[in-house]
Each structure stands twice: as C-alpha cells, then as structure tokens.
C-alpha cells in the first residue's frame, strides 16, 4: 500500500505542475493585457518601399453563368422606388459580363504575420443605398473605423454576424447620424445583414495586414506594396467557396495570380 501511495504523490505533483504551468501562462497573458492591446501598441514594422512588389490577377468563372436572381423588395416600397422600377438582383453569385467574378476578396492569408501595421486613420465607408450595401465586399484593418451611412429614406438595421468578433445590431433611421464601428479581431468574412431588409448583405473582411483587394466588375484585382517574401493568397467568394495559392514575391516583382472558380 505505502508503495503506491508514494507513487501517487509525485504523480499528483507532476499533474499539478502541469496545470500550474498552464495556469501560469493564462495569468501572464492576463496581466499585461492592458499594456499591449489598448494603450501601447507595437510600432509598425518598417517596410522598405523601394523593394515592394505587387500582385495582380483575375478571378475567372468557369461553367454556365448563373442567371441573376432578382430581389423581391416589395416588402418596403421605399426600396422599390429607389430602383425606379428596374429592380435589383442579388450580388452573391453574380458573374460579370466577361465571365469573371466581382466581389471576390483576395487577401494575404499567410506570410505577412511578421509585419505589424498602424491602424489607418481613414475610414472605410459602408453605404446603404437602394436597400443594398455598397460596397458589397469590404476589407478593413483591425481597429479601423467602419463608417456606416444610409442614403435611403427608410430605416435600416445594420447587423454584422461575426464568429470571432462582438455581435451587434443598430438601427439607422432616415437622417440618423452615421454609425462608426471598429472590429477588434481578425476575421474572414463577417456577413452583415439588415434586420429590416433581409435581402441586404455585405461582407467585411477584417485583416491584420493591408494586403487585400476586392475584384471589380472586370474581375481583376491588385494588391500593392507587398514586401518580398513567400505568401499564401486566399480568394474568398460568397457563393463559390474559397481558394488559395502560394506565391513568392521578389523585390519589386509584379506577380500575377489568377483564380478560377466553378459553379
């Protein structure tokens, strides 16, 4: 009996010590929290502007072009009126005339962790016009101001539905002041809906680096100012999933990275 009693003791100690260590880590991460996150931010890593490269590319779409899905806005006559009878269609799944995809979010998924960036002072604007979010896809940096305005004479309710960030919703009546919000954590992508108009949708990508772009109506994108290095580039679309590619960017190099999505 005594033997295993003695055996238990070190066992318990080891276990305890393990817990202790982990507890320790927690504690230490807790303590300096105010020091790093809020008050004193690490200074941005200097990037030599003479060496930076650039990535451009096109988001192509293969397969049959899906028909645009019209939005039934008759729930709110204001919205109908805003489109002057022409109606609107869903941006998700939309394909450009030249067979490319708009609204793809292309970003540096990995490779830029070693850099830190100052929070930009300019605001990212999210407009609500004709009961649609403009832009449909928006990239911001962690902590950057998102400036939400409404150009519609109807009440909107902005409701981002993040996984990792704080969730909130706020109503914006016609003429109400703009709403300014920031997102504290990196997240790809935060869907934003409107509690008033359930068709309204925007996507916000919250990034730690500024190397991202949204493909336009010609399906092309450009990521500028990339320091030389190896990167994983991700391309996110709302309907057709996400793809990624690895790329090495040399000093002052202009690389082309194309993505092709299928229906």
């Amino acid at each position: 009996m005594t033997k295993h009693k003695l055996f238990w003791l070190p066992m318990a100690l080891v276990l305890a010590a393990m817990v202790g260590c982990s507890g320790n880590k927690e504690a230490t991460s807790e303590q300096p929290a105010p020091a790093t996150s809020a008050t004193a931010e690490a200074p941005p890593t200097p990037i030599d502007p003479s060496t930076v490269g650039e990535i451009t590319g096109k988001i192509s779409f293969q397969g049959e072009k899906p028909k645009p899905k019209p939005i039934m806005m008759d729930q709110d006559p204001v919205c109908v009126r805003a489109h002057q009878g022409k109606g609107a269609s869903f941006e998700d799944g939309e394909v450009n005339a030249n067979g490319t995809l708009p609204n793809a979010f292309v970003y540096v998924k990995a490779g830029a962790e070693k850099y830190t960036f100052a929070t930009p002072t300019e605001q990212a604007v999210l407009d609500q016009k004709g009961c649609m979010y403009i832009p449909h896809v928006l990239g911001v940096l962690v902590g950057q101001d998102v400036h939400i305005v409404s150009s519609d004479p109807t009440t909107h309710n902005i409701h981002p539905m993040p996984k990792d960030n704080r969730e909130w919703n706020e109503s914006q009546a016609p003429g109400a002041p703009p709403i300014d919000k920031t997102f504290a954590r990196e997240e790809i992508m935060i869907p934003v809906k409107c509690n008033q108009h359930n068709w309204m949708r925007a996507y916000i990508g919250v990034m730690k680096n500024p190397f991202f772009a949204v493909s336009g109506s010609d399906g092309s994108f450009t990521i500028k100012g990339l320091p030389p290095g190896d990167y994983t580039i991700g391309a996110w679309t709302a309907t057709f999933g996400e793809q990624e590619q690895k790329v090495t960017v040399g000093p002052k190099e202009k690389k082309t990275v194309d993505f092709a999505f299928k229906s």
Binding site: M1, K3, H4, K5, F7, W8, L9, M11, L13, L15, A16, A17, M18, V19, G20, C21, G23, N24, E26, A27, T28, E30, Q31, A33, P34, T39, M72, D74, Q75, D76, P77, V78, P153, T154, T155, N157, H159, M161, E167, W168, N169, E170, S171, A173, P174, G175, A176, P191, K193, N195, Q196, H197, N198, R201
Partner: protein, 1125 residues
C-alpha cells in the same frame, strides 16, 4: 575490605558508563520527540511560513505595477474631474465648516463652565436627599427636612463667569440656581447637537464624493482585470495581514454539521481575494514546487461564494481527512484506513452529488452533470435502480396498489352500508335507527369519495404511463419494422454496425444470437401495415435536414458525421427498416400497433374491442381498456416527438432514409431459422437473463424488474465489498484498488473482473454488456489513459475515434458513481430548495429527458445541436434557428405556454405548422407531455426567469382614441419596421416574415418583457433579428428613433409604452385595419384567411393535437387489414 583477594565484581563494578550512555540516549530520544512534536508532525508550519514569505514577495512585486496602473487611472480626465469636484466642494464648504466648528468649540467651553459648578451641586443635592430619605420614616418630618434643608440649598444662586457664545475672549456673568444651571446645560447640549447635525449635512456630499472616487478607482482596476480590482492600499493591507500572520492551525469548525477541517493550514491562499496561480508563489529560485501548488486560490471562487467554507468546510465535498495535518498523505486521506480519500482531479465534482442528488444539471459541475445525463441516456437505468431516475414504473405500481386498496375499502364500506341499514331496520327505537341510517349515509358519502379518488388515481396513472419511457425501441413491432436478416448482424456486435450506438454489446455466441433473434422475431406482433406509395427522397432529404430531425439524429459516420448525439445515427437505417413502418413512425412515432393493458398484462387485439362492440381505436383520448376500464398504454414508450408532418412529407423523409445504406439488406446472411420455435425456445431465458426488457418493450416481459444492483449509494459501498475478482493484487500494486479503479475498469470492460476464472459458469459471469468497446486495448492501457487528465468536453460523439468520447463518458459516469454516497452532511444541507429553485431542479430532468437542448439554448453558453449544423451557419440559416429560451419565463404567459407545450401548432385542425413561428422550416414538435410534465416545464421556465406563479397580468392602461390613431400611424409608417418582418396572417406577406404575428401578443406575452424587448432586443437575445435601438432616450421617456408620424407632435408620453399597450390591444379586426392602412404596400387580399389564427386557440391539453393522419387524412391509403381506425 583488605583481606578480599579479588575485588567483588558485584560491588566494585561501576555502572556509571552504562548510566551515562543510557542518560545520553534518553536525552537524545527526548530531543527527538520534541523535534517531532514541533516540526516532524507539523508540516503545515513550514507551509504557512513559506506562504507568508512568498505571498509577501508576490504582493511587494505587484504593488509598483498596481501603483502604476492606479497612477494612470488617477491621471485620467474622469478621475481628475472627480478629484477636482471633490476639492471644489471641500473648498466651498470650508468657511461654513470652520464657523460651525468654532461655534461648537465656544459651546464646549461654556458647557464645561456650567458643568464645573453643576457637578458639585448635583452631588450635594443627591447626598442631602439621601440623608433626608433615610433619616426618618415620618413623611411630615421628611417634608420639613426637605423644606428646611434641601430646598434652600437648591435655591442657592451661583454667579458664574461663562464663555460668551458671541465669540472667543468674551465672557458674560450669569447668576443661576441649580435648576437654572440644569436648564443652561440642556440648552447648550441642544445647540451643540444641532450644530453637529448641520456639520454632518455639510460634510455628507464630501464623503459621498470620496466614495465615488474610490469606487471609480476600483471599478477601473477591475475592468482592466488588475488583481481583482484591489487597490494599492488593499494590497498593503494584505501585506500587513501577512506581517501579523500567526503560525497556527487554520481551522474551519462547524459543529452544526460536525465538520472540522484544517485544510487551510497548508492551502493558505485558497481564500485570498486575489487569483493566485502556482507561478505567483514559486520558490525563491523561481520554480513552482509542491508548495506553490498548494497555495493557489480555489479555482472556482463563485462556487465558494455559494458554499461558504465556514459552513460547508472542505472535506465533505473534496473528501480527505480534514482533521489530519501531520502529513500530506494523512490529510488527503490517502491511506488504507481512511474511507474517503481525496477525489481524483478528474472526478472532483463527485462531491457535489451527495447534496445535489435531486439536480439533473449543475452549473459548476459539467462533468457530474454529464455523468447524470449519461446514466439515463446510455440506459444504465434500465438495469440499475437509482433514486430519482425513471420513477414512473414504481409510481405506476404504487398507484395500482392504491387503487386495489381503495377498491377493497369500497367493498368493505358497501358491506358496512348494508349492515347499518339492516341494523336500522331492526332497531328497537327510532333514536338508534336514525343513528344507523346516518351511519349508512356517511358510508355512502365515503364511497363516493373513494370513487373520486380512484378516478384521480386512474388519471394519474394515465399521466404516469405517458411519462414512462424506454431507452430503446419497442420489440413488439419488430416484425413490421425491420428485416429479420439484420437482427443477428446487430446482436452479434451493434458497435460494428453502428459505432456510435448506445446499444451495448452483449457477449453472445452464435447460438445465443440465433435464439434471441428468433425469440424476439416470433414474439413480435403479427400485424400488417398499409403499403405506402414511394416518396421523393430528394425532398425528403431537404425536409430531414431542415425540419429539425438532426437535433437528435445524426447522419454520416466518422469524420463525416453530422447532427445530434441524442438519438440514433441513421447512416445505415436503409439496411434494416421497412419503408411502410418508417412512414408511420415519422408521421407519428407514438403510434402503436396494439395497446397494452397493464392489468391484464398483455397487448389487446381487435377482438377485445369487438367483444364490446367498440372500434379498434386507441389513442390518448381512447385510453381505457374495453375489458376492465383501466388505463391502457396507447403510445410507444419513446421520447421521439411528433413533428406533425403531412403524410406526403413523412413519405418523402422515409424514402430518403431508405436510401441511406452501406450495403444492400439482401447481402445479409439468410435466416431460415427465424420462425423456428425450437430455436426461439432458448431465447426467452437469454432475454430475461440479459435484462433486455430493461430498455426494450418486449411482449411477455413488460413487468420484468431491473436485473442490476441499485447504485444510489454505490460510492459508499466499502470497496472491500466490490468484487475485483482476480485483479486484487494487481489493483493493489498499480494503485487502483479503490472505488475509482473499480468503476473505471468495470465501465471500460465490464467482464474484466471475470478474467482468469475457469470455474465460473456463464450464469455466474457478469451480465453487464460492453458499452465502451473502443477502450478495450488491454486493461493496463485503459488505466493509464483513465488516470490522466480528464478529456475536454469538446470531444464529443462525432469524433471519428470513439475512444476519446468513450473516455469522457467513462470519466463522467465514474464521477457520478463516486459521488453516489451517503452524505457526511446532515440531511438539511441537501439541496432541496423549498421555493422556485425546486421547479428548476425538476424541470431539468424533463429538459434532459426530451433533449430540448438539441434545438434550444437555455443559457448562452450552452450550445444547441442545431446551431452548430452547417445549414444554420449562414445569416439566412441563423434566421431559421429555433428561438432561444434564455428569458422564456419572463417573455411568455405561463398559461399560454402550457397550451403551446401541449400543442405547438396551437390549433386542432391545422396541425401541419408551427403555432408561433410558422415561417421557420424547423418545427417545434408535439411531445405529448402529460399535464404533470407540462406543469413542471411551465414552472421551470417561470422559475428560470424568477417569475412569480401564478401569473397575473398587469393591467395596461387602455389607449385613448388619439393614442390609438398615433399607434396605428406609427405601425404603418415608413420609418417603423414592425410589419415588415412580423407575420400578419397574409400568406403572401408571411412568406417573407421572420417574426411571429402580433395577434398572439395579448395571450402569449408579458407586457413588461415586451417593453424591454423592443427597447433593446439584443440585450435579451444577442444576435436576434429584431432591430435594436429603435428608440432613443429623451429625458425620462423613450422616443421612436425614426421619423414619427405627424400625429405625434406634442405627445409627451412614452413611445415604447404606447406601442406595447397597442400590441396588447391588437385583434384580428385591428390587424385587418392595419393591413388596409398600409395601402398597397402589404398587398392585402381582402378576405384572405385571417381566421387561420384563432386569437385564443382552444387546445386540449389532455389529448394533445390529433395528428391529421388519424382518420382524417384522406390521402392516407388504408388497407383493409390495417390498424387504422
């Protein structure tokens, strides 16, 4: 003695050397004893000393950091403002305060002058008075003495020079007798009191301000998560506490419960106001050691707050020997002769069970709660009685016994009536005849009372029978349900066919399997189900995934598994089930092929009904036995609810499920013997032996008892009485010769304690089947896994490797069983709250029983199954989630809730829908709760939100005409969004609706809650679709944030209140009017079926909804021999 030739050894021998050595040894042993006394058996002294030093060092290290943080806060504008305000205030009252104080000082001086003389006078008066009182008994003489001596003395006048109240340095001279002196004193005292009161009033704002400043500091530190918000001063206080720390046994002594615990003599930091981690209290060399482990704070301070250690001690929960402090082994009770060794870390929550046996769900004990849930879910309760679990069979037996007793009483009373009547008839005088007749009448009344009681009991037995569930499927239906070829495949090893099944593997040989299969097959009801036309599997899949089936069921195996764990994984259901049966099952799982009569102990057949000229109809409304009138079991004893799907949808789903298979049923070995009675003959014994009837309903075995030992107090059973078989020596050597080791090994591989026996017959070996086969890789390995850290909760069934999940379950069950002890606390310590908290306790049992948490969240941190399904991840999907029930009790009217729970469609006729949220694809099913369970659930929700019962609605002020106009205008205005999302009863509009109809509000909701809801819904239900900040605060009222209709001009009332009041006045007519007011916007189709929603649905709780298939659905094909009625 000169002549002695030799020295006499006896005399001359010196013992000095021996004595010296002995004395030295004695001294040494005494010294050893002293050392032992003061250090050897007092290890806690070292602990306390170390703690004081390490804790002080830690605090000293913290102070500069905290000071810095405090500085920062003190330099913040808010703090500075407060500070400035304080100083301004102080400055502003300073002159007043000074004048008050100087006035008081003057009064004090003057008072001293008066008192100086008065004390002397008082003393003289008292002495003289005493002398007079005792001088003589004669009152006249006394009076004379008073007059002659005392009075003149009292009248003596004194001239005093007193401090003038006009200012210092001024004096006035007064002449006063003793009475005057007293009056002067009283006057001065009053004045002083008034001045002091004034000063107090003056200073109060200052001290309030000071408190505000302190609070601000604490709050800021707390928000910044700095040392629990302790200020530097408080830290200094802690250091000071350490400086005067006495090295002594720290003891909790509660004579009330006979608790003496000295755990804190070593665990000194356990209740410190800081959160102490081992690293905070490491040795000077910077390494955490045993002591820094021992010094940490309690990991769950909230738990300690609820269970004050001064009352509850430590050892009753944690076990160990709380009194012993002479060594760690002794204190932790880890020696042979202590029955309650410290619980292992992974089973720490076992200690909760002794008092919380009545709780199914415990907030601070997830592992124990899991164990409790598993005990029910895995069907342990089928074989092992455990107080609190599955009480229905016992209740039913008790009711039956009571009914029989009452029937006996009734008969006796009947005889009594006859006898009394007879005696009355033959009585000699009228007086006694009247007495006898009276007696007879009294007995007749008693009989009527008995009849009522029997009725009540019959009703109760109907309720109990509804609540009575079996863990596993009804085997009476086996012939209509499954392919016979599948039976042996399943019985041989259920885990091979369906790895996640809760059906355990019985160690059956081929003969056993054949016999049991044949017995079950031949024992099944021989009925035919109507043939169903094939459904559309594609639509079925859609329905299956959206209707909510996956809250309980899962699809896909291994990593591809998706869905809930509560019910079976249906990935291969197509290999075994008949399509026709599946259709009926999906349409209404509670439908039986034949009712069971517990009095006759058999299943009734159409002939039984025919005899009495009755149609063969049995359901919750037709639940009396045609033969004896007692209550029948008319439902399947499954917890699976009725989703109220149409026959077509049921067919679609069934068709989909039939496509789920890995191999064709035809590939199973043929079973030509299945109908051979000879093969079945041995099966009866095996089925009884293995206790199959504990979990399954089996014809002829309905009344079988549980075959296992009762486990209610299993943890208290001396483990010497637990049968370790041939593993005793091994267990002893490897340290699992204890309860934990026994439970873990038994659960891992139940037959483990039969190992090595060669003489045991089959019947003597354990019958307990294997539940956790993935853990079978040798006992030793299992132990090493089990003794490590507990598995994180995230390891659930969906893991492709089951061993993690199994390990988690074994640990949870072990914890539960370890805690199943006779408590060391007196019974009044048990958690049996007399108030609403009891409702919460009871409610959880039902919530767990029916897996309500598969769809609903009761607290935010509890995740439902559906919310994690992929189809509910998109914004649209999230909108389709079932409602959160976090504040359900505050939200809904309990009476309405009772109706809703009884029939979630809220309609008798139109059942293929959800009564509240018709826009959801996922659907609240009908559970056919008995009134007992409904009552408990309603109370549960009310109690969760601390709502008083019964609910009496607050009377709302009726709307004035003007207000009505305003409300309507707002409801229909462009700015107000209400009608955009809320259903209004128009099919066209409701297609896009995402919120319930307002018509229900008056019956369903509570006005106070609604007001809070519309003001800030995301406070109540984060992530809700309901928009927030629709109102803004304006002065003391809430005003609609958007543009208000012109009629609101000049309105001073609260807009939110107005809307609430309006909502509670809405009826169908009003709704029609609203629709019209919106003009063409809502596309009103006049005359549309707005009656679809009855404003107060008539719901029969007793019977529940009548699913549309029951004789109403014309589409349902009805075979001539079918069970339809």
């Amino acid at each position: 003695m000169p002549e002695t030739p030799e020295k006499d050894p006896v005399i001359s021998q010196s013992l000095a050397g021996y004595l010296f050595i002995a004395a030295v040894l004695l001294l040494l042993s005494l010294a050893w004893a002293l050392w032992q006394e003061f250090f050897g058996i007092r290890p806690w002294k070292d602990y306390e000393r170390e703690f004081v030093s390490r804790y002080s060092i830690y605090l000293h290290k913290q102070i500069p950091l905290q000071e810095k943080a405090e500085k920062e806060i003190e330099n913040s504008p808010a703090y500075l403002t407060l500070q400035r305000e304080y100083q301004d205030l102080e400055k502003s009252i300073l002159p007043k305060r000074e004048s008050l104080e100087s006035e008081t000082a003057l009064i004090d001086v003057r008072m001293a002058g008066v008192l100086d003389r008065l004390t002397d006078v008082r003393s003289q008066v008292a002495a003289r008075g005493y002398t007079i009182e005792h001088a003589t008994a004669d009152s006249t003489k006394k009076q004379a003495l008073v007059e002659g001596d005392l009075r003149p003395f009292q009248a003596t006048k004194y001239t005093l020079t007193l401090q003038s109240l006009e200012g210092p340095g001024k004096f006035d001279s007064v002449t006063l007798d003793s009475k005057g002196l007293e009056e002067e004193l009283a006057r001065l005292q009053t004045m002083k009191a008034q001045l002091q009161a004034r000063e107090g009033d003056l200073l109060r704002p200052l001290s309030e301000k000071q408190k505000k400043i302190d609070d601000y500091l604490h709050t800021q530190l707390f928000v910044q998560n700095r040392l629990n918000g302790l200020s530097v001063d408080q830290l200094r206080g802690l250091i000071a506490k350490m400086q005067i720390f006495t090295i002594e046994i720290k003891q909790i002594n509660n004579p009330d419960a006979v608790i003496v615990d000295r755990c804190e003599s070593c665990h000194v930091g356990i209740r410190e106001p800081l959160k102490l981690a081992p690293a905070d209290l490491e040795t000077s060399s910077g390494k955490p050691d045993v002591m820094s482990q021992a010094f940490v704070s309690h990991p769950d301070m909230e738990l300690l707050r609820i269970h004050d250690p001064a009352k509850f001690g430590c050892s009753p929960c944690h076990n160990g020997n709380g009194m012993q402090v002479d060594s760690v082994t002794q204190g932790h009770g880890e020696y042979e002769h202590w029955l309650w060794p410290l619980y292992h870390k992974g089973n720490m929550e076992a200690g909760c069970q002794q008092c919380h046996a009545s709780d199914m769900v415990l907030d601070h004990a997830p592992v124990l709660s899991r164990g409790k849930e598993l005990f029910q879910w895995r069907g342990c309760v089928g074989c092992h009685r455990f107080q609190g679990y599955d009480p229905e069979p016992e209740d039913l037996a008790a009711i039956q016994q009571q009914v029989q007793q009452l029937e006996q009483d009734r008969e006796n009373d009947q005889h009594g009536v006859e006898r009394a009547n007879h005696l009355g008839d033959i009585a000699t005088d009228n007086e006694s005849a009247r007495r006898y007749y009276l007696q007879a009448n009294e007995l007749r009344v008693a009989i009527s009372k008995i009849d009522q009681q029997i009725d009540l009991l019959d009703n109760r037995s109907a309720d109990v029978m509804r609540d009575m569930k079996k863990v596993a499927p009804d085997l009476k239906e086996v012939r209509v349900k499954i392919h016979p070829e599948w039976l042996p495949v399943w019985l041989t090893n259920p885990h091979a066919w369906r790895p996640t099944t809760k059906m355990p593997r019985f160690r059956l040989d081929e003969d056993d399997v054949k016999q049991i299969s044949a017995f079950i097959w031949q024992n099944g009801l021989d009925v035919k189900l109507p043939a169903q036309p094939m459904g559309d599997p594609k639509r079925g899949e859609e329905s299956f995934k959206s209707r909510g089936c996956m809250a309980c069921h899962s699809i896909g195996e291994g990593a591809a598994q998706e869905g809930g764990w509560f019910a079976a994984n249906l990935s291969r259901v197509g290999e075994k089930d008949n399509y026709d049966y599946l259709v009926r099952w999906i349409h209404n799982p509670r439908e039986r092929s034949a009712p069971y009569c517990p009095y006759e102990k058999r299943d009734l057949n159409p002939a039984d009904y025919e005899k009495h000229g009755l149609p063969f109809v049995f359901d919750l409304d037709h639940n009396r036995c045609p033969n004896d009138g007692h209550v029948l079991e008319v439902e399947q004893m499954t917890v699976m609810p009725n989703l109220r799907l149409s026959w077509q949808e049921a067919r679609d789903i069934a068709a989909y499920l039939e496509t789920l298979k890995k191999e064709e049923p035809s590939s199973f070995a043929k079973v030509p013997w299945i109908n051979d009675p000879k093969v079945a003959a041995g099966g009866r014994k095996a089925v009884g032996f293995y206790g199959c009837a504990g979990c399954h309903e089996i014809a002829g075995l309905e009344t079988e008892g549980r075959i296992g030992t009762e486990l209610t107090k299993e943890g208290s059973k001396p483990f010497e009485q637990l049968d370790f078989g041939l593993h005793v020596a091994e267990a002893r050597d490897s340290g699992w010769y204890n309860h934990k080791g026994f439970f873990e090994h038994k659960l891992t591989r139940p037959e483990v304690f039969d190992d090595g026996y060669v003489t045991k017959t089959e019947d003597e070996r354990t019958r307990m089947p294997d539940f956790f086969e993935s853990m079978h890789d040798g006992t030793a390995q299992a132990v090493s896994v089990l003794n490590s850290e507990p598995v994180p909760e995230s390891k659930k069934w969906s893991e492709s490797d089951l061993s993690g999940a199994d390990q988690e379950q074994i640990n949870a069950l072990t914890t539960f069983l370890l805690g199943a002890v006779s408590s060391k606390y007196p019974e009044r310590y048990f958690y049996l709250p007399p108030d609403q908290r009891r409702d919460i306790q009871e409610g959880w049992w039902i919530v767990k029983k029916y897996n309500c948490m598969g769809c609903h969240q009761f607290t935010l941190d509890q995740e439902s199954v559906v919310m994690n399904l992929p189809q509910f991840q998109t914004p649209e999907g999230k909108g389709q989630l079932p409602p959160r029930l976090v504040t359900e009790g505050a939200r809904v009217n309990p009476e309405w809730l009772a109706k809703f729970l009884a029939n979630p469609s809220l309609s008798d006729t139109d059942t293929d829908r959800d009564g509240v949220r018709s826009y959801l694809k996922i659907r609240m099913p009908t559970f056919f709760f008995s009134p007992v369970e409904i009552r408990k659930l309603v109370r549960f929700f009310q109690a969760l939100s601390e709502q008083p019962m019964p609910y009496i609605p607050r009377k709302l002020e009726p709307l004035s005409t003007a207000e009505l106009t305003m409300a309507r205008a707002l409801f229909t205005s462009q700015g107000a969004p209400c009608l955009k999302c809320h259903a209004i009863g128009l099919a066209e509009h409701d297609k896009n609706a995402t919120a319930p109809n307002f018509l229900m509000a008056p019956d369903r909701l509570k006005a106070d809650w609604v007001r809070h809801w519309i003001l800030d819904p995301s406070m109540i239900d984060p992530g809700t679709n309901m928009p927030s900040n629709l109102f803004r605060h304006e002065g003391s009222r809430w005003v609609f944030a958007g543009p208000t209709p012109p009629s609101f001009k000049g309105y001073n009332g609260d807009h939110a209140g107005l809307l609430v009041r309006y909502m509670f006045e809405i009826n169908s007519a009003e709704q029609q009017r609203l629709i019209q007011m919106t003009g063409g916007n809502l596309k009103p189709k006049l005359g549309a079926s707005t009656t679809r929603l009855e404003s107060s649905p008539k719901v029969r709780i007793a019977g529940g909804p009548r699913p549309s298939g029951r004789g109403r659905e014309t589409l349902a094909p009805r075979g001539p021999a079918g069970p339809s009625r």
